[in-house]
Amino acid sequence: FSGSFGEVYQTFHLSIYMSSNNKFSISPEMATQEVQPNETLSNLKAESDTLKTKLEDERAKLHDVELHQVAEKVDGLGQFIMKTRRTLKGHGNKVLCMDWCKDKRRIVSSSQDGKVIVWDAFTTNKEHAVTMPCTWVMACAYAPSGCAVACGGLDNKCSVYPLSLDKNENLAAKKKSVAMHTNYLSACSFTNSDMQILTSSGDGTCALWDVESGQLLQSFHGHAADVLCLDLAPSETGNTFISGGCDKKANVWDMRSGQCIQSFETHESDINSVRYYPSGDAFASGSDDATCRLYDLRADREVAIYSKESIIFGASSVDFSLSGRLLFGGYNDYTINVWDVLKGTRVSILFGHENRVSALRVSPDGTAFCSGSWDHTLRVWA
């Protein structure tokens, strides 16, 4: 059903009937045809928007439950104190992305000037550094084994660097080019092993790659604009992932078939970050519309919005605390807002960075989170 980029444009004609007892029935017909000259894009869009509004009205009568209503009985959170415990200085330019190593203390970060650095965040020592041949390295990821890192950006590729122990060896020498897109790489993540990488790109697609051969295993089409972020499901079957894009949509994908199995479109602007709730039953998103939202995958809808009138800048990066009670959001106004996921209220605002917060991840054991910023630094908060 997802939009095709091929020569033939598929149009769906939907007939909606209101039966006598006020139930909706639908009969979709699929017509494969060239766009008729009088069926302009705006006409079709207008038609689908009208239908949407009609259906939203009917849907509102279904008495969905809001999360914060049910969570009224839950204890509120007390005074919340988190401080910067480490500041990592060493990037000469905007930090764009970071990821934790499974050892709970090492991180990899990438920046605008092409530098990728591996740190022991606990001691703040730099352990490895690589200079990519391109600028704006917007994606980086640590391999599950801790033996390699992946990164990419304006070079449209995702490359894997095995981490050499020999301080004299040039890491760039062992570089392996894995993914190839037709536009910038926005995010990358290893799957359960060092052998596969999932990528998202400004070319509107996501893709799964075999690291050893660089072979494309599966591609994911369905976004109508740049895909900006992705996250892998922690679920038992481990076969799905989510992505968010400039088309304001958050999609859920089946890794095996390449199909988009669920889609959510409630944000009013680009979705910069998506992250699964720890149970895998929901996910949060952060957007340029200055809100973060929570989507329940089983109820198949948005269940919470995290916003405040005084927050007018986009959320660039979000992540949950270990129990899922707190949602941390890094924003383009240099702050980090901490949200009570259940009650929908803001628990705290953290100042410290001197420019946009571009990356934010909670550590694997939940003892801290790290934020990367356009002010050239990374901070670890606990």
């Binding site: 279904l62 109820a299 270990l322 003892t367």
Partner: protein, 460 residues
């Protein structure tokens, strides 16, 4: 082009100027001139604090951004685009000069502005402005006469205005250019990162989200408003249950024992929780009972579970599951080999570690093996997974093996806060995972912890 941020910012600005709920503006004295419709930095702070129910710090931060983005400008020290929370005078920028209105800034307009400044007072241009002026002079030299003519005309017209108006217009214009042509190194509003394309293929007509939406609606069966409500309720309740269950395990919510390494600089919490530690902590062992996935994800838990299964002569189930995981997540080049191995070890008649799968699944799998691919074992793997989850796992939790583990498990003492908090502990390095792994490979057997260099405490 209005970004969502500018749109929201303008909403705030408009609210601030609302006749009923907005700021109370008054005349402000600037040296000997009286400027109307101005407010103090304090006024701005107060209003933001009141309206949005935020702290001083947050109000100062938000107000500062309003000034940085050119929606409010200072009358005193106009080059310094910051918000002072005192009686410094400020004014709202006229919508004509809003950041979203005239973007990108016109080169011609900038040339005229710089020319005006230059003509009015020699040496009024600062360094970077002089550079820009010279660059423009070169680039649009062909229209320079027009530029100078316009500049002179504008100066003449402004001389005819009242002094207060003239000052206001000059401030507005200056503020606009400070935002749009900032000093190199200063904050640049337009530094937005690589361009994003918002509509890739305008010919993608299908609104797939609409389709999903309709499918959702159509799947609500007769009279099932109540069942829909119940589903909604149960989903939402599950979040509360999960948060509650994991509350004690969330170090940010509940702290961790003996202390959070990032706060105390003491890594004991990590050393007592290493992968294959001798005696695990109580919290860790408890967590194995939360879900089967938790047990399997912890290598110590998984090892314990394997021990239990072997006692029950069903260890092959877990081995099979692990082999399938290895197949699914491994190199493409090894797929055929791995499928063969799995078949030989677990599925073939008389296999050494034969797994008990239902005949239908077995049939399907054996058929699939003829064309091996990485997902060929999925059905069988799922079957065995659920078998373990529904049967062996609950029994393991009731077993003596688990109960002993739980009773042996340690509960570390909470470290009392240091008496001398200003003495920082040494922050010890740890061996890089890459190092440990390489050592394993080199020697063909698992090495110990490897070299652990002591690091003299580096101040961050």
């Amino acid at each position: 082009p209005k970004t969502p941020t500018l749109h929201l910012m303008e909403r705030v600005i408009i609210a601030m100027q609302d006749p009923d709920i907005g700021l109370k503006m008054r005349n402000q004295r600037l040296l000997i001139t009286v400027i109307p419709h101005a407010m103090t930095g304090n006024d701005i702070m107060e209003w933001l604090i009141q309206k949005y129910n935020i702290t001083d710090e947050e109000a100062g931060h938000l107000g500062g951004l309003l000034v940085q983005y050119g929606y409010i400008y200072p009358l005193k020290e106009p080059r310094s685009l910051i918000l002072r929370s005192d009686d410094s005078p400020y004014r709202f920028q006229t919508p004509y000069f809003w950041t979203s209105s005239r973007w990108p800034a016109s080169e011609l307009d900038y040339a005229i502005y710089l020319a005006k400044k230059n003509i009015r007072k020699q040496g009024e241009l600062v360094d970077y402005e002089k550079q820009n002026y010279n660059l423009l002079h070169k680039r649009i030299n062909h229209t320079w006469d027009f530029v100078v003519m316009q500049a002179r005309e504008q100066i003449r017209a402004s001389k005819q205005r009242r002094k207060a108006d003239r000052i206001v217009l000059e401030c507005q214009e200056q503020a606009y250019w400070l935002v749009n042509k900032p000093c190199p190194g200063a904050f640049d509003v337009f530094d937005l990162g690589p361009e994003r394309c918002n509509v890739l293929n305008s010919r993608v007509i299908l609104n797939s989200s609409l389709l999903f939406f309709l499918l959702r609606i159509s799947s609500v069966p007769n009279n099932s408003l109540s069942s829909h409500f119940l589903l909604s309720l149960s989903c939402v309740c599950s979040f509360m249950k999960f948060c509650d269950q994991y509350h004690q395990h969330d170090p940010i919510m509940s702290g961790c024992l003996p202390s959070n390494p990032w706060i105390s600089d003491d890594t004991t919490h990590w050393t007592i929780n290493t992968d294959l530690v001798g005696t695990p902590t109580r919290l860790r062992v408890e967590r194995w009972s939360f879900s089967f996935m938790e047990l399997l994800n912890d290598c110590l838990g998984r090892r314990e579970f394997m021990t239990y299964l072997e006692k029950e002569f069903s260890g092959e189930n877990l081995c099979f599951w692990e082999a399938c995981e290895d197949l699914r997540h491994g190199e493409s080049s090894k797929i055929i080999l791995k499928v063969e191995e799995v078949y030989k070890t677990f599925l073939s008649p008389g296999a050494a570690r034969w797994v008990n799968i239902d005949s239908k699944t077995m049939e399907r799998t054996l058929e699939g093996i003829k064309q091996p691919h990485r997902f060929v074992m999925d059905d069988a793997q799922m079957h065995i997974y659920f078998l373990m989850k529904k049967d062996s796992y609950p029994r393991y939790l009731k077993s003596d093996l688990y109960k002993n583990m739980l009773s042996k498990a340690i509960v570390p003492q909470e470290t009392k806060k240091s008496v001398f908090p200003f003495m920082r502990r040494q922050r010890h390095s740890s061996p890089s995972p890459a190092m440990v792994s390489q050592a394993t490979e080199d020697n063909g057997k698992a090495k110990g912890a490897g070299p652990a260099a002591t690091n003299s405490g580096t101040l961050s």
